[in-house]
Every structure is written in C-alpha cells, then in structure tokens.
Subunit: 224 residues, 2 copies
C-alpha cells in the first residue's frame, strides 16, 4: 500500500535547553538519522517533515545529491497534534497508509518501520511499542510512592504509528471537534474506538528527551 | 547514619541462558562492578552480598589486597525476597540504614547511591527511579490497545532502594506473614503503608536481563 511517513520535528526542545533534533549523534544530526531510517525502509513512498525552515537546513546540508525519495517540508503547529494535522493535510491524494514518527527517535530501524507498516495493512492501525518489564509505581506531588501499577499487559508507546489515512483523518477530526489533547496517535484512535495493534520493537528506539538520552543513543549506535 | 548495602545476586539468570552476574563488562564481572560502586560510595559502612559460594569467587579473585570496606557473603533463598530477608537477618547490630541493590545493575553511580542514602536519612525510605516519559497503554491478549494509562507521576523502579533497618524488617515480616510476593522493596514498604521517596537516577542504570543489555552496558561504560 502507498505509504507516506510524517516525521514530526516542530517542537522547541524546551526540556533539553538546546535543539535536540540538531544534536549530532555520532556525527549525524538526530533528525537526519530519523529521516534516513524512513528513506532506507523499502515500504515508504514519500516523507513529509513537519519542521520550521531553519531545521530543514539540517537535512539539506547533509545531502549533496538530493534525497533517495520525495521529501517535503511543512510548517508545524502550536503543539504536537497540530503539527501532525498539518502533515496530514499535506498528504498526496494517492496515500493509503500514513506512518507518524517522532523526529526525536533517531534509532528506529528500517525493519521495525516495515513491520509496523505491514501490521497496519492488516489491522488498519499499528504502533511500535515496548512491553514494560520494570516495577511501576505512581507518585504524589512530592515524588513519594502512592500506589503500585500492574505492569502486565502494559506497553510503552514508540513510533512509528501507522494507520489507514482515512482513519487518522477521522480521529483527528474528532480530536479537534472535542478539543482533546493527545500525546500520540494511538490516543487519537482511542477517541474513535479503533483497536491499535502493538508491534514489539526489535531494536532500542529511545526518544531523545534529556541530555542523558543522547549519551545512551550514542552508546547504542556504537554497538550496533 | 550507619548504612549497610545488601547486594542481591542469588538468581539463576534463567532468562539469559548464562550467568549474567559473572559476565565481563569491559573486563570486569557484572557483580564486581555493582560491588565496586558501593565500595566507592563514601556513605556505605559494610556490604553484604547475597550469593552462592561459587559466585563469591568472582569477587575474591578480583581482589588482591582485600576489599576497601567490610564485605560479607550470605546464602540466597528460594526467590528474590527470601534472599533479601537473608541479607537483612545478617545485618550488624549497629546498622541504621539498609540499601538493597540488584547485583545485575552494575552501572549504578556512587553519586546516585549517596543521593538515595541521603534521601532515606530524611524520608526513612527512598528508591532510585526513573520517570516514565513515554505514552503508556494497556493491551488485551491480542496485543491490541484497550486503555490509556496516565503517565503523569508514574515511575519505573531501579535500585538501590534504601530504608531505615527497622522499617524494612517490619515490611518483610508483613510480607512473610501475609505470603505476599513482591518484586522490590518499595512494594514491601507499601504493605506497611510507608511512603517511599523517589530519587531520579542521574546516570543510566539498566538491569542486565537480556544479552542485548550486556552489550548496551558495555557501550555506556565505553563512553562514560
């Protein structure tokens, strides 16, 4: 199926204090690594990068002979979900599946992208995810433990999250109409009652949020 | 306060297929690295390693001139919580705080140990932990999303977990009396209604569970 990737890269990196998407990971900017994974994956027809013009330069500067596949830029919105909506509005008419990916997950493997796209082709909606294996607790405002949270059947969402284009449009229309706030597209799918299939990541796929995540990602790259 | 560390290293490493605690991490066995972190930390008076005699040789063989602090071995029990109870039973009379640590977390930093011990001195009970920063969902038997789980205030438990000795004894007495199964000491504290303060880890502190964890830990050591 004709699949477009939307890479969301419009955030301001407030938690890091510097532009995490521009940070070099073993010499290559984080955002460029995310893009490369989708350009390498055989199942992606086009990539839309949602980012400001100055961030787009990270990608252009790294490319001498152009990209291996069509890549377009669209502006971001006020928050993550508006940015995804902007990408969705820019899809080519022939797009059947859409894979939404956080630009700050530079280590996603082309194989895991392909597995998620295949699952979405079967189940209409799929997300890369990871089972929780550690003990999980809830804390109060003082960071003191208040209750245990059963970890059985709990998954941490990753990206890409892949959907039939019509489904994601319907979900975002509902999100907009009801003024919901969603942290990912699985949450948007829940708003319209669609079951999302979880695909366990075969490779570490951390989100670069804090400086220590950059250290960890560099380590992972070193051993891969 | 007089603080003893209990390093739990009695498991059989079933998930790994080989002895993960004996595995070399940049040339030094995993368990030895865990021990060294506590020997290096200025706030620990004594260390009790809960492990079988053959595993103890990993530590002795690595030491020519003896340990920098008192280190004793006690036998493990049938499961993790019995092993912790064995360590607890072996505490010296003067011990005021006890820091329980998984031997399979070799990258814990002496600084994070000190931070947890200081927190336990103030709050009576503290655990090294990591905030959940990803979106969390619950799945059904088909690995399909069923519900969202609010991630605000959710933490993944790490070790060390540090407590007033009397509190941990009380908690384990309750665990034993009610035949509870606990995956960590924070869970035991909850059984007696004690608030545990979470201290966010400043360094990666992965538990060596799968072979890929070992490779990852090696890489983290390389860049630290």
């Amino acid at each position: 199926m004709n699949t477009t990737a939307i890479i969301v890269a419009a955030g301001s990196s407030q938690r890091m204090g510097f532009d995490k998407l521009a940070a070099p990971l073993a010499g290559v900017p984080v955002l460029r690594r995310s893009l490369d994974a989708f350009l390498t994956s055989g199942c992606i027809a086009e990539v839309i990068v949602v980012c400001p013009p100055e961030r787009w330069k990270l990608l252009e500067n790294a490319t001498s002979g152009g990209f291996a596949k069509p890549v377009r830029r669209v502006d971001g919105g006020a928050n993550r979900q508006d940015s995804v909506a902007n990408g969705l509005a820019a899809l080519a008419p022939g797009a059947e599946l859409v894979a939404v990916h956080d630009g700050a997950r530079p280590l996603v493997s082309p194989e895991d992208i392909t597995r998620c796209v295949a699952a979405a082709a079967s189940f209409r909606a799929a997300s890369l995810a990871r089972r929780v294996t550690e003990t999980l607790k809830r804390a109060d405002a003082d960071d003191c433990c208040t209750e245990a949270v059963a970890r059985e059947d709990l998954w941490l969402m990753e990206t890409p999250q892949v959907f039939e284009v019509g489904l994601l449009r319907e979900a975002y229309a509902k999100v907009r109409a009801e003024r919901l706030e969603v942290t990912d597209e699985v949450s948007a799918m829940q708003a319209i009652g669609i079951r999302v299939k979880f695909i366990e990541a075969s490779q570490p796929n951390p989100k670069i949020t804090r400086p220590s995540d950059l250290v960890l990602a560099t380590a992972i790259l070193t051993i891969q």
